[in-house]
Symmetry: C2
Subunit: 137 residues, 2 copies
DNA sequence: AGTATATTTGCAATAATGTTGCAAATATTA
DNA sequence: TAATATTTGCAACATTATTGCAAATATACT
């Protein structure tokens, strides 16, 4: 709760029920969340539009980031370290479990360096690995 | 045209106008295509539903694969090598250019090996790199 | 080639997802 | 506590995706 308020205040966001609840979900979720997950877990407590806007606000502020997916969903996860408004510096690997279908950030696995062909400039590397997670193995 | 028919026949698909046209688009596109791109390029020649179904069929057969994106779109690209129905073995890097916004498969760049924590089993590694491409640099 | 069978397509209806403007409600500031 | 700024919910709308079914098209067979 302490942590929750700190995060909101640090980012100069007014403290509202919706933001508290949604941020709380992220803080207590082992994996990434999609818009739909949040709607399910908040039931009808908040309007759909509020959820959209809250997620967008959190992304803008660098509180959460989104994870590439191969379907037409958007997955969000907490930014762990040095992200700030307008600048995401996430540099970790995302893992999708084929069994439980959860998506995690593997914060302690280094993103490998990739050598691009001549002429290409690298800005960001996203790695998404699928397989079987710890809990399902 | 030869190639086109070969691909369809090899996968035991009936040869229809829609499949020919859509596969042709992929064969002649330097980058990945989204559903919307295909609709634009085929104008109203085919029903939206047909496009959805054709793409799904191609994915099922291993003719195309989809590329992870951070927005809610689905990008498709031709499978280059040893993909077959039910088994995708794509092992290449995807590059998104921040300037021209095109997405390519870098077929000749090796996917780096990633060491997962104990307990995790790796099945597939997807790498999406953003930056500036050859043509825009 | 012509017919029978199997497959695919387009239409219509429906569902799901995302966006915008604006007034009412809530939070912050002083 | 009042004034101001911000956020929310509603409604309407736009876009994207899915399904059933009859008509159209492709393939297989003689």
């Amino acid at each position: 709760m302490e942590q929750l308020l700190n995060i909101l205040k640090k980012n100069q966001l007014s403290v509202t029920e919706g933001r508290k609840k949604i941020l709380d979900l992220f803080l207590n979720s082992p994996g990434a969340l999609a818009h739909a997950d949040i709607e399910k877990q908040t039931d009808t407590a908040f309007d759909r539009v509020t959820v959209y806007r809250t997620l967008q606000t959190f992304v803008d502020k660098g509180i959460i980031h989104n994870i590439p997916t191969t379907d037409n969903s958007i997955l969000y996860a907490l930014c762990k370290d040095n992200c700030e408004a307008g600048h995401h510096h996430d540099n970790h690997i995302h893992f999708i479990c084929d069994s439980c279908e959860k998506t995690f950030c593997l914060d302690h696995v280094e993103v490998p360096e990739v050598k691009l062909p001549k002429g290409f400039t690298l800005k960001q590397t996203d790695v998404v690995i699928s397989g079987i997670c710890e809990s399902c193995n």
